[in-house]
């Protein structure tokens, strides 16, 4: 399976899961589907049959509300049966709306409150340095998440310690909870901000799997790397794209049918 095919599967799962669970955040999952696909298909050094392998690369989804995407990619990669996805958001399930690690092979970290993942990623990266291990830590964050002060604490720390084994990926879809990022807390000039904090920055098309793969294969040799992935919230379903509404709305009825048609077409 190519990363493009995997991304398509993630998107279809996301629409099905949020329909079944009547849950939010489908737009956020569609936004990161290509990033997840490239990471799990082409980049992460992991073993689905040995999820706790000590030398594995670590992946943290810091924007935990897009957890359905992580569950979907893990299931597709064989960490657990695809059938489990049907329980997402259901009473009694292990698969909570915000990603949780308990009982789910392959999930490194439970998140949900924004601004936690990069610090933890920096801790993992620092531990790898202390132990002379080669594994890398990838943290996928949202743009709105960068409003959190703790993110900038981690950014400062990682560059000070030259954590070249830490890679932050920003899902820069430019829409946050209530309105566009630029009308909420403007992040621009975003690339320059990260650069001025000592990170190596690459700005790429977050839906171009080749470009993503190329960026992720070219991480900086001595500094932490930030990949700003320019994305579209709701990508792949025309009526969801760039709509704040689809941060919250669950696809039902005709909308559900039309979304699947577009994704499967």
């Amino acid at each position: 399976m190519t990363s493009v095919e995997l991304a398509k599967k993630i998107r279809i799962h996301a629409v099905n899961m949020t329909q079944l669970g009547k849950s939010s955040h489908v737009g956020a999952v569609l936004s990161i589907a290509d990033i997840l696909a490239v990471l799990y298909n082409d980049i992460l050094n992991i073993r689905p049959n040995d999820p706790k392998w000590s030398d594995r690369d670590r992946f943290i989804l810091s924007k935990g509300h897009a957890g359905a995407g992580v569950y979907a990619v893990l299931a597709e990669k064989g960490f657990f049966p695809v059938d489990w996805l049907k329980t997402h958001y259901q009473n009694g399930s292990m698969l909570s709306g915000h990603v949780s690690h308990i009982g789910i092979p392959g999930v490194e970290l439970s998140t949900g409150s924004l601004g936690h993942g990069l610090s933890i990623g920096a801790g993992l990266a620092l531990a790898a340095k202390m132990d002379n291990k080669d594994y890398r830590t990838f943290v996928l964050m949202s743009d709105g998440e960068c409003d959190e002060g703790s993110v900038w604490e981690a950014i400062l720390f990682a560059s000070h310690h030259h954590l070249n084994n830490l890679i932050a990926i920003i899902d820069y879809n430019k829409i946050q909870s209530l309105a566009p990022v630029k009308d909420t807390i403007n992040l621009e000039p975003f690339v320059e901000k990260w650069q001025s904090f000592g990170w190596a920055v690459q700005s790429v098309d977050g839906h171009n799997c080749k470009a993503l793969k190329n960026a992720l294969l070219n991480i900086h040799p001595s500094n932490p790397t930030c990949i700003i992935a320019n994305t579209t919230k709701g990508k792949g379903v025309s009526f969801m794209e760039n709509q704040v509404l689809w941060h919250y709305r669950s696809p039902q009825g005709e909308e559900f049918d039309n979304a699947l048609k577009e994704l499967e077409g």
Binding site: E108, S110, S113, H116, S119, A122, L124, M130, A154, F157
Partner: protein, 312 residues
């Protein structure tokens, strides 16, 4: 206690031990730093990141001590403690120095007077409040060697007494109140947590001079709380008092009362908790001044106990 903590860490640090500070510890970290420079991390003045880093380090197998003053590494980063450390059951110990009013004159920002209430309500977190230098040393040592998971270690500051002997300290059990002074006459039980232990011992000795028999129990572990011993004490003793340098709301006395729910044959008529009011102090003063102001100084407690005993 602070010195005892650092000494224990210096003496016993293992290959997986990491000490991380929020840019504090001037003058007291030197011994550890000299012996274990590779285990030292300064996170800067950034406690949320410090606890997140600690969680990441622990996920990779480290045993982390995350150190700062009073509220900075508890309240400032409470969500990191709850979601990242506690939920993931990681080997991270939040080491808070200056529990209670130890930094009295510095003002309310430095008064850790709600920490026990808040931290003990977090699932998976063990809460220690050692009563003297030996308990601080011993508990630190055990955290290093045992897999205790997430811990909150509430220390005093400096100058606390040494009340245990070399023999008694070997007998303390995590999660169990320790009978530091045992009197066969079950008249009065003094239950103490944290740095109030010195006051408890003082009060016990003063009462003894007046032929009033009392026993002193050190509750170095606030969570898991020793309900069994507490219930037994309330059944056996005529009077029970508790001492804590913490708000009356949610702390040691609350834990005591919670532990008694459902236990038959217990009356609370003769239970007297000594704690701080749930208020911000409006006056400047050092630890002893503020303890006196809030009626938890040795003299005030002694006077109050004698009054209560007379009235009974």
């Amino acid at each position: 206690m602070r010195t005892a903590f650092f000494q224990a860490l210096e003496d016993h640090a293992q290959s997986q031990t990491v000490f991380i500070t929020g840019d504090l510890g001037f003058g007291v970290i030197n011994g550890f730093l000299k012996k274990h420079p590779e285990k030292f991390v300064n996170a800067g003045v950034a406690e949320q990141n410090m606890v997140g880093l600690s969680a990441g380090l622990a996920l990779a197998g480290k045993k982390v001590f995350a150190y700062s003053i009073a509220n900075f590494n508890t309240l400032r980063c409470l969500e990191q403690i709850r979601n990242d450390v506690a939920y993931h059951k990681l080997n991270v110990t939040i080491v808070s120095v200056g529990g209670g009013l130890a930094y009295g004159s510095l003002g309310i920002s430095h008064h850790a007077t709600e920490d026990l209430a808040i931290l003990r309500s977090i699932p998976n977190l063990t809460v220690f409040a050692p009563g003297d230098t030996k308990e601080a040393y011993e508990l630190t040592k055990r955290i290093v060697y045992e897999d205790l998971g997430p811990v909150y270690l509430r220390l005093g500051r400096a100058g606390e007494a040494t009340l245990h002997t070399d023999e008694s300290i070997k007998k303390i059990v995590i999660g169990k109140a320790f009978p530091l002074i045992e009197n066969p006459v079950r008249k009065l039980a003094i239950l103490s947590t944290g740095g109030m232990l010195e006051t408890a011992v003082y009060v016990c000795e003063q009462l003894k001079q007046q032929n009033i028999h009392s026993s002193v129990f050190s509750y170095h572990t606030i969570k898991p709380f020793d309900s069994e011993t507490t219930q037994r004490i309330f059944k056996q003793f005529d009077f029970v008092i508790s001492m804590e340098e913490h708000s009356m709301v949610g702390g040691f006395s609350s834990a005591i009362l919670e532990s008694l729910v459902g236990s038959k044959g217990i009356l609370l008529d003769n239970y007297y908790p000594f704690a701080l009011p749930a208020a911000f102090t409006s006056k400047v003063g050092d630890q002893n001044y503020l303890r006196n102001l809030y009626n938890i100084s040795p003299e005030k407690i002694l006077k109050e106990i004698l009054n209560k005993l007379k009235q009974s």
